[in-house]
């Protein structure tokens, strides 16, 4: 099998389409690092002037307000909640001025915790999250703000308790590893899965161009398919290489961050966040990504031996990537067991961070369920591929 693997791998890396994909990924990666990443503008950023403006306004209010029987209840409410709020904002301001980032993290953790408690539970339509959550058409702005504030509280708690070197870039999640984390939370899984689809759609059917050379090789069709799958898996993992060039550039620009930085994970049962290490989070993402690759490769191997058409393979693969759009809706997890659909795990980073559970209002989109569902599907696809390829009359080409 080894000689066939080497031959197949050689074909893979010299395949013009595959080279084009790697080049595109490299281009995308560099473009992102040089053009998009520097313009990243997080809502929850370290903005001294904003903190100061808020602090001074509230301080002025607290210094001048007179509470008596005729005071409006909103004024009373403000006078009651602003002092503690301002303590945290003052703490943040002092920490920034002294460049005490640990202190800043601690104060910010408290600030986010207190802010969310006030806005979410006692807001009464007068307290709001950051205005950028309230964009046109977003009916879930409060929920988004609630998630983001709790996420930030947990994150800053992690910074305060951890041993990582802190910086503004770390706070704003601009370092290379944190950018990777953010990308895993957004469209990086799509890019990797779609790349895997493009690598695999023709890995079986390309051999039709060389039938007399390959048909008589003394290797069973099943083993050939397994080798092809293995090559595709290695090639798909290899897609990380051009992408890492972009991370290297970001690292040089904004620092690399470190693997001990905290990543808040949402636990929907308790409706709380708990931190895990960034290294652990990335490893979990890689594990799920590998399961996605295995899922996609086994699916496309099965499609290759049944449909025998590259375009059909592409459609089948893409259908699984975008399948979630057909049933996704906030809160749908209450009505449907979305955790049993492999397509529910396509947003890998969001699943692992618990954000997907938050959106679906579910508790079941977990790494264990994801591995189980995708592993089971992969097993089923491979089982049918095994049966078909071992049929006496089956011809691979």
């Amino acid at each position: 099998m080894w000689p066939y693997y080497k031959f197949e791998f050689y074909q893979f890396i010299t395949n013009k389409k595959n080279i084009a994909i790697y080049v595109l990924l490299l281009f995308f990666s560099c473009y992102y690092a040089l053009k998009i990443a520097p313009t990243y503008d997080p809502i929850e950023k370290v903005d001294e002037s904003e903190i100061e403006a808020r602090f001074l306004t509230r301080e002025e209010f607290l210094n001048t307000v007179v509470i008596n029987d005729g005071t409006h209840h909103f004024t009373r409410f403000a006078a009651a909640i602003f002092p503690e709020w301002n303590v945290y904002d003052k703490g943040r301001l002092d920490a920034i001025k002294q460049n005490d980032l640990k202190e800043y993290a601690e104060a910010t953790n408290k600030w986010y915790g207190y802010s969310d408690k006030m806005i979410f539970t006692r807001g009464n339509g007068v307290l709001f999250y950051h205005p950028r959550y309230y964009t046109f058409g977003n009916n879930y702005a409060t929920m988004d703000g609630h998630y983001a504030y709790l996420y930030s509280a947990s994150r800053y708690k992690g910074y305060a308790e951890g041993n990582s070197k802190l910086s503004i870039n770390v706070f704003e999640e601009r370092t290379a590893l944190q950018t990777l984390q953010r990308l895993l939370h957004s469209y990086l899984p799509f890019i990797l899965i779609v790349s895997c689809i493009f690598f695999t759609v023709d890995i079986v059917l390309k051999d039709r161009r060389y039938p007399t050379l390959l048909q008589g090789l003394p290797l069973s069709d099943w083993k050939k398919l397994i080798v092809k799958g293995a090559v595709s898996l290695i090639g798909s993992i290899g897609a990380l290489v051009p992408l890492s060039v972009g991370l290297l550039i970001i690292g040089i620009q904004s620092g690399f961050g470190d693997f001990n930085l905290p990543v808040p994970i949402y636990f929907s049962a308790e409706k709380t966040f708990s931190n895990i290490l960034l290294g652990e989070y990335i490893l979990q993402n890689m594990l799920i990504m590998i399961f996605w690759f295995l899922f996609m490769i086994s699916l496309l191997l099965l499609a290759s031996v049944t449909l025998k058409n590259e375009f059909a393979n592409l459609l089948v693969g893409c259908a699984f990537v975008i399948g979630e759009l057909t049933y996704f809706g906030r809160g749908n997890g209450i009505f449907w067991d979305v955790q049993w659909y492999p397509t529910s795990y396509v947003q890998v980073g969001q699943v692992l961070s618990g954000y997907r559970n938050y959106l679906y209002n579910s508790e079941a989109l977990t790494i264990v369920n994801g591995l189980f569902v995708m592993g089971l599907c992969t097993g089923i696809f491979l089982f049918f591929t095994f049966l078909i390829s071992n049929h006496r009359k089956f011809k691979l080409l």
Binding site: P3, F7, T212, L213, G216, P218, L219, D221, S389, R392
Partner: protein, 302 residues
């Protein structure tokens, strides 16, 4: 040793192979001769199990049949078919092709260099096959099968695109492979060449495999049985038959006239030659019926 037992293949209601049964032995070169589209390649594809026959089976060494995929792999370890030159990977070198085949069949690596030397491919073997001429590609395909070093070798149109020197070179290698105990099955249109080294030659017609000896008994006997003459007119033929009434004369569609002189002594042969000379016939050949004659007789008549 390979046996084909009652092989039948039908395409669109037409019998391409009809109940073909034959045994191929070790240390034997088998020639397959037939016009295009008469089933030579189909037969080879059935032997390789690229095509499932409608009936019959292929048996290798009295034990292996294509009953399951495991057996198919075992048979493919022992039986190989020469690849088509149009299927070569243009972006990789000839040597890489040879290495792939050698490693896939786990044959002796030294066979690669030996074959390159034997076929005179050293000057271009490290270049990408995309730069090869038809003859170079054909030689590479042949070399690939040689390095696979299987017990049974199937070669479809092995001499295509080769110059006479390389036809002769490959013929010699085939004879060498035969002496090593290989079974070599060659489909070729180079009849004269095939006739030289093939131990048995089969014609294919109407889905049947017919050994040449069955069409022309004594085909492989080494004695003068036929006088081959060209440019014989009908009048001359009539005069000849008047002079030699007991002699069989047959004019083939290719214009050659065959005079059957089987069992003739030197005196009778001398008379025939004298008659032809007297009638100004200068192209005379004493020998036996050639494969070309039989081909013309079998395929071009009526």
């Amino acid at each position: 040793m390979m046996e084909l037992k009652n092989i039948g293949v039908r395409f669109s209601g037409r019998d391409v192979l009809k109940d073909v049964s034959v045994m191929f032995h070790s240390g034997e070169i088998i020639g397959l001769v037939a016009p295009n589209g008469t089933g030579k390649s189909t037969l080879m594809n059935v032997i390789m199990n690229y095509i499932n026959p409608n009936s019959g089976k292929v048996i290798l060494n009295d034990e292996l049949e294509y009953t399951n995929k495991k057996n198919e792999v075992k048979i493919h370890q022992l039986v190989s078919m020469m690849p088509d030159q149009s299927d070569l990977y243009n972006q990789i070198s000839g040597k890489e092709h040879l290495k792939i085949y050698s490693s896939m069949w786990n044959s002796q690596p030294k066979l690669i260099d030996e074959t390159i030397k034997e076929l005179g491919m050293s000057s271009y073997i490290n270049k990408n096959t995309g730069t090869y001429s038809l003859g170079m590609r054909q030689r590479l395909c042949f070399a690939m099968q040689i390095v696979s070093d299987t017990q049974v070798m199937l070669m479809d149109e092995v001499m295509n695109g080769l110059d006479p020197t390389h036809v002769e070179l490959i013929s010699q290698i085939l004879v060498k492979k035969k002496s090593e105990g290989k079974t070599v099955i060659v489909a070729s249109h180079l009849l004269e060449n095939l006739e030289k080294y093939a131990d048995r030659i089969f014609f294919m017609k109407n889905g049947e495999l017919i050994q040449v000896n069955d069409i022309s008994p004594g085909f492989d006997v080494r004695e003068i049985t036929t006088v081959r003459v060209t440019d014989v007119t009908d009048t001359l033929k009539e005069n000849f038959l008047k002079e030699f009434p007991k002699t069989n004369v047959q004019t083939l569609p290719n214009g050659t006239t065959l005079i059957d002189v089987q069992g003739y002594g030197s005196g009778e042969l001398g008379n025939v030659l004298a008659f032809l000379k007297a009638n100004h016939i200068t192209e005379v050949n004493f020998g036996k019926v050639t494969l070309g004659d039989l081909y013309s007789m079998y395929y071009q008549e009526g």
